[in-house]
Assembly symmetry: C2
Homo-oligomer: 237 residues x 2
C-alpha cells in the first residue's frame, strides 16, 4: 500500500484488486494490462515494454498482480528484463492463491498428521514450453497436498493422470473458485469424481486442493456440515 | 490489520511481527505464546486453551502468526479445536515464508522455462509423527523447485538424501535467513556444497530454495553480481 501510494505509474492485471488500484494517488498513470487467451505472449512483451519505458524515464512504477508475483506470476521474467535493462527493482511478496483458497475452504495445506509437504502445480502449462513437463504420476505417489493453479478446464484430465499414477480414487478434493471474491465458491468431492468433471469456464480462476487435508481436519468437517448433503460438487452457501 | 484493531485478545507467536502487535487497540489483552525447543506440544495445548477460554467468553480473539497459518503453521489443528468447541472462526491468509524468501533473494519459485511446480517441505519433521514421513528421493526426481521450511540444522543431511536420490550435485541453492527482517541474509551455493554445510543455529529461521530457478533468472544474476565473488556461503551485503 505504501509503494502504491508513492507510485507515479501502476501497471495492473485483471486479477489485481480494484480496491488497491483505487488507492493510488491522483495523477498516477494507471495502465490496465489484463491478459486474455490467445494474446498472452504479445501482452507480456507489452507489459515489459511499459515497465522499461517508464523505469528508464525515472518514474516510480508499481507492477500490481493478484497473488504472489514469483509463484505462477511471471515475476521472474519481469525482474530479469528489468535487471538486463539496468533498472532497479524490488519484489513485495503477496498472498499466493493457494493460501487464499486454503483459508476460504478451511483446509490446512499442511498438517503434521496428514501432509508434511504441499506442491503448487500449473494445471495449464505454457503450450510453447521448452522446459520440463509435469510428470503427474510422480506427484501421485508423494502423499503431499497438491494445489493445482489455473487449468480449471483440464481438471478431469489431471485427475485421470493422477489415478493412472496410482493415487487413491477416494482422495479428498476441494475446488475453490474465485477465492476471497464475493462470488467465492467451494466444492468438496473425491478424485474419482474429479475425473468425471466436465470443463467449466465459470470455475476460473480456481485452485484445486487434492489430498487427505481436504477432508481430515475437524475445521473442514465443520464447513462440510454447513453445506448441502450428498451429491457431487457440493457448494458452501 | 482491521481484525487486529478490533481484537479484544491477541495471542501471538515469536515470529509474529511486533509492529503488528503494536497496532492493537489500548486495553487489548496481549498473550505472547512463543514456542521454543522442547516445550512445543505443551505450548500448543496452552495456545488452544487460551483460544477456547476467550472464545467461549464471547471475546473477539486474533491468533497472530508469522507467515501463512495453514502452511506449516498448525492453523489446521487450531481451527479443528475451535470447531470442536463450537466457536466460530475465520482464517486470514498470509504471506508464506517461501514467498518472502523468493522476494528477498530475487528468485522466482516457478518459471515457465525451469520449474512448473514448487514444493514446500518441512525439514524438521515432528519427532512424534504418526503420518507419512518425507521420501526425499521421490522429491529429488521431480524437477520442481523445493523450498525447505525450518530444519536449518538438518540441511546437510537433507542435501545428502537428495544427492542419494539422484538430484544433480550442481543444482543451485539459495539459503534465505531472517527473510524480511533487518538481519536478512541470502547465500547462494550448490547442492554439493549444501551437503557439507554444518548445522548453524544462527541461520534460523531460514528457507532453503533448491532448484534451477535459484540461478537461472537474470534477476538473480543481477543480485549475484552485487555479492562477494567466489567462496562457499556468499552473502548479499
Amino acid at each position: 500500500l505504501d509503494r502504491l501510494r508513492r507510485a507515479e505509474v501502476v501497471v495492473y492485471d485483471d486479477l489485481a484488486s480494484r480496491e488497491l488500484v483505487a488507492r493510488c494517488r491522483p495523477g498516477c498513470l494507471r495502465l490496465h494490462v489484463g491478459k486474455r487467451g490467445g494474446t498472452r505472449s504479445t501482452a507480456q512483451e507489452e507489459i515489459i515494454r511499459h515497465l522499461i519505458t517508464h523505469g528508464r524515464a525515472g518514474r516510480r512504477v508499481v507492477r500490481l498482480k493478484g497473488g504472489d508475483p514469483l509463484i505462477f506470476g511471471r515475476g521472474g521474467e519481469e525482474i530479469a528484463a528489468l535487471a538486463k535493462a539496468g533498472i532497479a527493482w524490488e519484489v513485495v511478496p503477496g498472498v499466493t492463491s493457494a493460501a487464499a483458497a486454503g483459508a476460504a475452504a478451511g483446509v490446512p495445506l499442511t498438517h503434521r498428521d496428514f501432509a508434511s509437504a504441499v506442491v503448487f502445480l500449473a494445471g495449464h502449462e505454457n503450450p510453447r514450453k521448452t522446459g520440463p513437463l509435469i510428470d503427474w504420476s510422480a506427484y501421485a505417489r508423494l502423499k503431499a497436498t497438491l494445489c493445482i493453479y489455473m487449468g480449471a478446464r483440464r481438471l478431469g484430465a489431471i485427475a485421470a493422470e493422477l489415478l493412472a499414477g496410482g493415487m487413491e480414487p477416494g482422495t479428498p478434493v476441494a475446488i475453490v473458485s474465485h477465492a476471497t471474491c464475493p462470488d467465492e465458491r467451494v466444492q468438496f468431492l473425491t478424485l474419482r469424481r474429479l475425473a468425471g468433471v466436465k470443463p467449466d469456464a465459470s470455475l476460473s480462476p480456481a485452485i484445486t486442493i487434492i489430498g487427505a487435508v481436504a477432508a481430515h481436519s475437524a475445521g473442514i468437517r465443520a464447513v462440510v456440515r454447513k453445506i448441502k448433503p450428498a451429491g457431487r460438487g457440493r457448494s458452501r452457501p
